[in-house]
Symmetry: C2
Subunit: 239 residues, 2 copies
Amino acid sequence: MTEAAAKTRRQKVEQKERAILTATRAVFREKGAEEAKISAIAQAAGLAEGTVYLYFKNKQALLMAAVSDFYAELTRDAESAVAQSPDTGSQVLSLARLHFGRVFDEWPLIAEAMGPYLPSPEYRETEAFALNRRYVGVFDGIMRSGVARGDIRADLSIPAMRDAFYGGLEHCARSARLRTTTPDIDAEVRQFLTIFMAGVMGRPSHGEIDGARVVRRLQSVIVDIEEQMRSADTDREQT
Amino acid sequence: MTEAAAKTRRQKVEQKERAILTATRAVFREKGAEEAKISAIAQAAGLAEGTVYLYFKNKQALLMAAVSDFYAELTRDAESAVAQSPDTGSQVLSLARLHFGRVFDEWPLIAEAMGPYLPSPEYRETEAFALNRRYVGVFDGIMRSGVARGDIRADLSIPAMRDAFYGGLEHCARSARLRTTTPDIDAEVRQFLTIFMAGVMGRPSHGEIDGARVVRRLQSVIVDIEEQMRSADTDREQT
DNA sequence: CATCATTACTGAATCAAGTTCATTTTTGTG
DNA sequence: CACAAAAATGAACTTGATTCAGTAATGATG
């Protein structure tokens, strides 16, 4: 087998793997989790059922890979959207819009189909988990720099803000999915952010007292400690 | 068939129905959604598999009934807890504690097993949906009277507050379930409510740094660090 | 370009869990 | 006690995931 041929073959394999993932996401989006049988996915990808199992160990692995694909794409888009936003507020806004829209669209895959696998201890070893961590890192970055700029309160832990942010947004998306009408993403997100931002923003402060400086310093030390814990601790990294 | 006999028989039927529901919730709690097969549930209730289908049309109906049971119980407890709390803040706190704890305990049933059925349009016709609405009514009541008392901002819609509250709490519960250690409910809930309440409350006079809060926060971080060190230790021992 | 080895693919067979149903057991009544 | 109605059972059936024995495509080699 020559080098060139090897490359071509690998490319073909990767291309087909990609086709299966794309088909999987499409079937979930268009037919829902209930109807996303292996047979339907194989058909959508133009393959026999058995072939799917040459590329993915089982259905769970396939869904995990599809979710990884979702998060990889979402992270790229989130990073670019955030990079284009000048201040903390608009960064949070564009991340929230993006997250709400994507999660709403791919709810059957992200929420319905994945739910059952999350609790298993092996989940933490998967690529999907790692990509999810990378994705929530975008939020963490916004918040950390927000704290540094004084836009965000320094006395809150990032994981707590994360739970409030993603939890609230995803609950909105779920509620929106229960309604039959298509949601007004902008209005939904604005409503939610009104609450979230008020909870998370730095209070406008006046005249510094001497003691206040010390307390502020303590607060920022807390943030640093948590920072260290965060990198050691993978426990709270979920969306 | 006499009146008395009829009553006895109906009671017996209801008693058995209850036994099945109790068994269902227990199996989900103790073995998780994956292992909650009809055979396991039947065994736990001391019945043959087929018998379950005399009481519930299919597995979906059984789960719906179990969820209804869950919400009925939760609503009773929430109403009583709230009735005993004097002010808006403590009402929210006790509801949040209760919700977090129960959802955490019955996550496999409430979140994993139900997820797939929620999006179906028929869900809105079920008893579970109605009971869920009644349950969120407790929260709505707290918020409405909070607005009336001036504790809660009047410019936010109740549904938006609801999404933020339940979404955030449930996301915390989910994160907590992914960790292996049992959660400190109080600390989790306090963290979340710090954000939620600040977002939802009428603005307090600002500028002053709340030294007591910072101290409390330092204490909780210390506890977290200790927790972390302890769990790192046990991890090492487990291998 | 014919041969062969390797790799990719297929769909029928197998397995597992939910569901049905013919049969058996229990219950209550005359 | 005899018997009709109700309740319960578990083996058979259905459906969807997974495996596997066999077939087709690919590409290296003489």
